[in-house]
Amino acid sequence: MSRIAAVVIACLGVMTTFLFYLRIAERVPTASNSGEAEIIARLDRLEKSIAQLAAARAGAPSATDSATLAAPAASGRAELDGERVAAARAAAIRDGNDIVDRALGVGQWTTDDERALAESTGTLDGEAVAAIHARVAAAINSDLLKIAPSALRP
C-alpha cells in the first residue's frame, strides 16, 4: 500500500515539475527569440532612417514617412510660388520706374506715359503704385517734369 502511495506521489511530483516547466516556457521568450525581435526592430529603424536621409538629399518625399515629408514639399511649392509673385512684382515696379525715368529724360509727362504706367502697374498693390506716382509728382513739383496738355484729359 505504502509502495503504491509512493509511486503515486512520485508521479504527481514529475507531472507538477513538467507543468511548471511548460508554464515558464510559455511566459518567458527564449533568448534566441528575444534577440531576433530586437534585431528586426533595429533593422526597421535603420531602414527608415536611410530612406529619410535619401529623400532629404534628393528633395523628394519618402514613401516610408510621407506624412512627415509632405509638409516640407508643400512649403517648397509655396516658396516657389512666392518667388514667382515677388519676381513679377519686382518686374512691374522696374517697368514703372523705367517709364518715369524715360519721361524725366525728356522732361515731359504725356498721355502715353500715363497709359503705359497704368498698364505696367496694374497688378501692383496701392503702396507700390503710389510710390511710383510719387516720383512723378515730386518731379512735377520740382519743375523737372512738365505735364503735356494731352495728359490732362481723362
Binding site: G126, A131, A137, A139, N141, P154
Partner: protein, 97 residues
C-alpha cells in the same frame, strides 16, 4: 463762363487758389483714384502745377467722397507724397452759379 469745382489746394509752402466759376482754362484741381492708390494735382493761374500721390486708406476714403461741388485741399512733401487730403461737402463754400 466755365464752371469748376469749388476748390483750394494749399501746399506746405505754397498756396494755389483755384475756385470754381473761374473764367480761365488754366486753373484746375482734381484727384484721380486707382482704387488702392490715388493722385491729386492742381494748377494755379500762373501755371504752377503741384501734385501728390497716396495709398493712405484715410486719404483714399476722403478722395472717394469728392463730389462735383466739393471743397478739396491736399498737401504734399518733397517726395511727392500727399501729407493730407481734406474734402468738405457742404453749403459753406462759394455758391454755385
Amino acid at each position: 463762363m466755365k464752371r469748376k469745382t469749388t476748390a483750394f489746394a494749399i501746399g506746405a509752402t505754397l498756396a494755389l487758389g483755384i475756385v470754381h466759376n473761374t473764367p480761365d482754362a488754366i486753373q484746375y484741381i482734381f484727384c484721380e483714384s486707382q482704387g488702392t492708390s490715388a493722385n491729386c494735382q492742381a494748377r494755379n493761374l500762373a501755371g504752377l502745377v503741384r501734385s501728390c500721390s497716396t495709398a493712405n486708406p484715410a486719404f483714399l476714403a476722403a478722395i472717394h467722397s469728392i463730389g462735383t461741388d466739393s471743397f478739396l485741399l491736399f498737401r504734399w512733401n518733397a517726395a511727392g507724397q500727399c501729407t493730407s487730403v481734406s474734402v468738405r461737402n457742404g453749403s459753406l463754400t462759394v455758391p454755385k452759379v
